[in-house]
Structure formats: structure tokens, C-alpha cells
């Protein structure tokens, strides 16, 4: 039997009728047309389906949409501020941290959660934070450099705001 659920996705509230066997990835992509969230392996190994659920990055392919009832979700579509890209997104472009792009939404969301908790991460902490997100193109180096650059950029921006 279908269940009525409420999801807050990128600050917008949705009422949805979903079958229990549908994953959060499926509902985001198929019902809400948020195609930035990818499905790679479907079993929690690759991280392409990463979304931020109540402040924590998670594999949305291993969450039932009904389990997410009442939760706040951020997908890659909710990261930019209108037409202004998030500093992490800008840094990914500047540092060539995107090749095929399939892992990018997950990488950006894992990086975003890291920088919100730890604005000044070491390289090891960056690598640890994205260790659930697989990239088969870049060899990770450019992604790590982009996250490092984004952390500096975000710090400068904060300092400017403090002045």
C-alpha cells in the first residue's frame, strides 16, 4: 500500500504518495525530476546518489523514501544560491575536478558537509570525507585540490563578512 509522506527538499516542502519499495533516489529523480542525484551501484558502494539528509551526507539508494518522511534533504540542485555557484562548485570548475561528472554531485555534497563542520581540513581529512564517493576519471587529486581551494575561498569570504 502506498504511503503519504512529506519531504522538505532544497527548502521546498512536498507531499508525495509513494510505494514502500521506492528508494529516496528514485523519488527524487522520478517524482521530483531532480536528476542531479545519480544512481551508480545501487548498493551503497559508489556514493553517486549522495544527498544531505538532516545535515548528514548519505547514500540515497539505500534509504526508502518512506523512511525519509519528515526529513530535510538537500540535493545538488539546492547547493547554488540562485545563479551564483557555491564556492565548492566554482573550485571544481577552476581546478578541472570534473571529467565525466557522474560522481560530482556526491563529491560536492560530501565536501560541503565537511567544510561546514571543519572549515580548515587537512588533506587527510578531505580524503577521508570523500572516501565514500568513488571517481573513476580524475584520480581524486584535482578533487582534493578543489576542496582545499574552496575551503580557503570560503574562509576569505567569511572574513570579509566579519569586517
Amino acid at each position: 500500500m502506498k504511503k503519504l509522506i512529506n519531504l522538505i527538499v532544497n527548502n521546498k516542502s512536498y507531499e508525495l504518495l509513494v510505494a514502500p519499495n521506492r528508494t529516496l533516489t528514485q523519488v527524487l529523480r522520478e517524482d521530483l525530476n531532480l536528476l542531479g542525484t545519480k544512481e551508480g551501484c545501487g548498493i551503497g558502494d559508489c556514493g553517486a546518489c549522495t544527498v544531505i539528509l538532516n545535515g548528514r551526507p548519505v547514500n540515497s539508494c539505500l534509504i526508502l523514501a518512506v523512511q525519509a518522511n519528515g526529513c530535510e534533504i538537500q540535493t545538488i540542485e539546492g547547493v547554488a544560491d540562485g545563479k551564483n555557484l557555491h564556492p565548492i562548485q566554482e573550485a571544481f570548475i577552476d581546478y578541472g575536478a570534473i571529467q565525466c561528472g557522474f560522481c560530482t554531485p556526491g563529491m560536492v555534497l560530501s565536501a560541503k558537509t565537511l567544510l561546514e563542520r571543519n572549515p580548515n581540513p587537512s588533506e587527510l581529512e578531505i580524503r577521508e570525507a570523500i572516501s565514500g564517493n568513488l571517481c573513476r576519471c580524475t584520480g581524486y587529486q584535482k578533487i582534493v585540490e578543489a576542496i582545499k581551494a574552496a575551503s580557503k575561498k570560503m574562509k576569505k569570504k567569511e572574513e570579509r563578512l566579519d569586517e
Binding site: 548528514r56 539505500l62 526508502l64
Partner: protein
């Protein structure tokens, strides 16, 4: 895309409702907590419960609560929280170490301590540390509640003594005695998203800072159908003064206390050799911690 088979979904608001649902389902239902294991198995067609019963909305099952020196950990507590609470890091570093190498950061944000126990995978990360700490689990059904030592909980791969209508509600760990220390090392090909080739948890209690070993536990993982004690190695340690030589002897004996298999992750011979190395390293670290603890 891997599609899940059809099933019903229940979300009880408290434990008594959950117990009633599980009793009524007569074995056709399965508990879902984080879902990182059961949903994979269902996608692969290994499991097909007619109903999933979520314990996510039951109050009190997602918390850590200190009680008279012991701690009660709700079975629905996510693994990430075991790495975030100061209490765990300071008082039970062995559990902190095991939790921080489980899966990936994304998995740790969903996977629960209860799930890592009831699935009874021979390479699960939390059971060796919890057994070393003499952890107990509370199992509840409509008829009542029982407490079982984790040491007696596992039967074999994927098999435990839990009954089909029982729900694991809490994990109880007593206060560590003075002069105790523990350490967990997991050996894998990579650091994240890895299933252990071999893992060892060691636990030592001393009678005096320079005294003899009062209690010792060496738990070997991924080298038998379930996490096991290195029985003869533990015997060698108890009652003796800890020296490098004694630790080396215990480590060498430990490699014969297990029954590893050849598989894609490593050969039996390699696993035995690594049991020796990891037993030595974890015992050395546990001893150091025990000497420095109060």
C-alpha cells in the same frame, strides 16, 4: 537500476506496538533500522520479507545513555555517533576505533550499531570490539525481555540466537575496570568501504600498574564463521607479567586459534600470518593504554 521487491512498511510509534507487529507477522517481517545491509540483500534477491518494520520512530532507541557507570546504547544509534561522542572516545576507545573504520562516512551516517550486530557478518567491525568489552544485548518480544552476552549471541555467518519476533533494543556495556585498555585493528586492501581480511580486538586488565595481567581478551574476526576468542593465547597471558616476549608468544599461539578460509580477499595462510601480526600490535597498544589508565 536495482529494484526492490514489493513489501509492506510499518512504522510503530513505540516498542510495545513494534513487538505486537513482529509477533503478528510470524517471521514474515524484518526489522529495518539504517537499511544499509537489508536493502542491499533485498535488492540482490537474497531476502524477501513481506513487511519491513522500521524502528526509526521509536523514542529512546537512538541514544547513548550512561546509567550507574554502564552505558546503554540504543540499537538504532547510527555508527557515526559512536565516533562523535566524547564519552565513547575517552572511555571505550576500542569501540571508537572499530566504529571509525566501518564502511564509509556515508554508510556510517545510516548504518546502526544494532544492524551491525544482528546481521552477524563474520567480518563485521563492531562485534569484536563489543565482545572484548563484554557487551550484552537486550532482546525484546511481546512476552518479555532477555539479556544475552554478545559472546553467546552469534551462531555463524548471518546466524544468531535472536528469535524471529524479537527486537534488539539496547547494547549494554559495563564500566571498564581500572587499569584496562583495548585496541582494534582492521586489515583491508583499502581504508574505506572495505570488508576486513583480518581484524583483531584485544583487551587487557592489569592488577597493578606494574603488575600481572588479570584479564585478557583477544577477539579474532574474519578468520572463522563468527568472531572468536583466541582461547589459548588468552590463557597464556592471564596471571603473567606483560613482557614483549609474552605478547609475542601469545600472538604466535593466536594464529593457531582460528580457522580461516581461502577467498578473494586473502588466503588462509596469509590470514593466519596476519592474525599473529595484528594480535601483537593490538596487545601492545592495549597494554600501553592499560598502564596509562586510572
Amino acid at each position: 537500476m536495482l529494484i526492490l521487491p514489493k513489501f509492506d512498511y510499518e512504522e510503530p510509534k513505540d516498542l510495545s506496538e513494534a513487538c505486537k507487529i513482529m509477533a503478528d507477522l510470524k517471521g514474515k517481517g524484518k526489522i529495518i533500522a539504517g537499511g544499509t545491509d537489508i536493502l542491499v540483500n533485498m535488492k540482490k534477491g537474497l531476502l524477501a520479507p513481506s513487511c519491513l518494520v522500521s524502528i526509526g520512530k521509536i523514542p529512546g532507541l537512538s541514544e547513548i545513555e550512561p546509567r550507574n557507570g554502564s552505558i546503554f546504547i540504543g540499537s538504532n544509534l547510527i555508527v557515526a555517533k559512536l565516533t562523535e561522542f566524547d564519552l565513547i572516545k575517552k572511555k571505550y576507545p576500542i569501540l571508537y576505533e572499530a566504529a571509525s573504520v566501518l564502511g564509509s562516512p556515508l554508510i556510517r551516517n545510516r548504518a546502526t550499531i544494532g544492524g551491525n550486530i544482528v546481521t552477524a557478518r563474520p567480518a563485521a567491525d563492531l562485534p569484536p570490539a563489543l565482545i572484548a568489552l563484554s557487551g550484552k544485548v537486550k532482546l525484546k518480544n511481546r512476552k518479555g525481555e532477555r539479556e544475552v552476552e554478545l559472546d553467546k549471541f552469534f551462531v555463524g555467518p548471518g546466524e544468531t540466537i535472536i528469535k524471529e519476533d524479537e527486537i534488539l533494543t539496547n547494547i549494554v556495556i559495563d564500566e571498564p575496570p581500572p587499569l584496562s585498555g583495548g585496541n582494534y585493528i582492521k586489515l583491508g586492501h583499502r581504508k574505506a568501504l572495505e570488508i576486513a581480511i583480518v581484524a583483531v580486538a584485544s583487551w587487557i586488565v592489569l592488577d597493578k600498574p606494574d603488575g600481572v595481567i588479570k584479564d585478557a581478551k583477544i577477539i579474532l574476526s574474519s578468520v572463522a564463521p563468527k568472531a572468536i576468542h583466541a582461547v589459548s593465547a588468552e590463557k597464556i597471558l592471564i596471571g603473567e607479567k606483560p613482557t614483549n616476549k609474552l605478547i609475542e608468544k601469545a600472538a604466535s599461539v593466536a594464529s593457531n586459534d582460528c580457522s580461516p578460509i581461502d577467498d578473494i580477499r586473502g588466503s588462509a595462510q596469509y590470514r593466519r600470518a596476519m592474525v599473529e601480526v595484528l594480535t601483537k600490535r593490538t596487545l601492545t597498544a592495549a597494554l600501553k593504554q592499560a598502564k596509562n589508565s586510572k
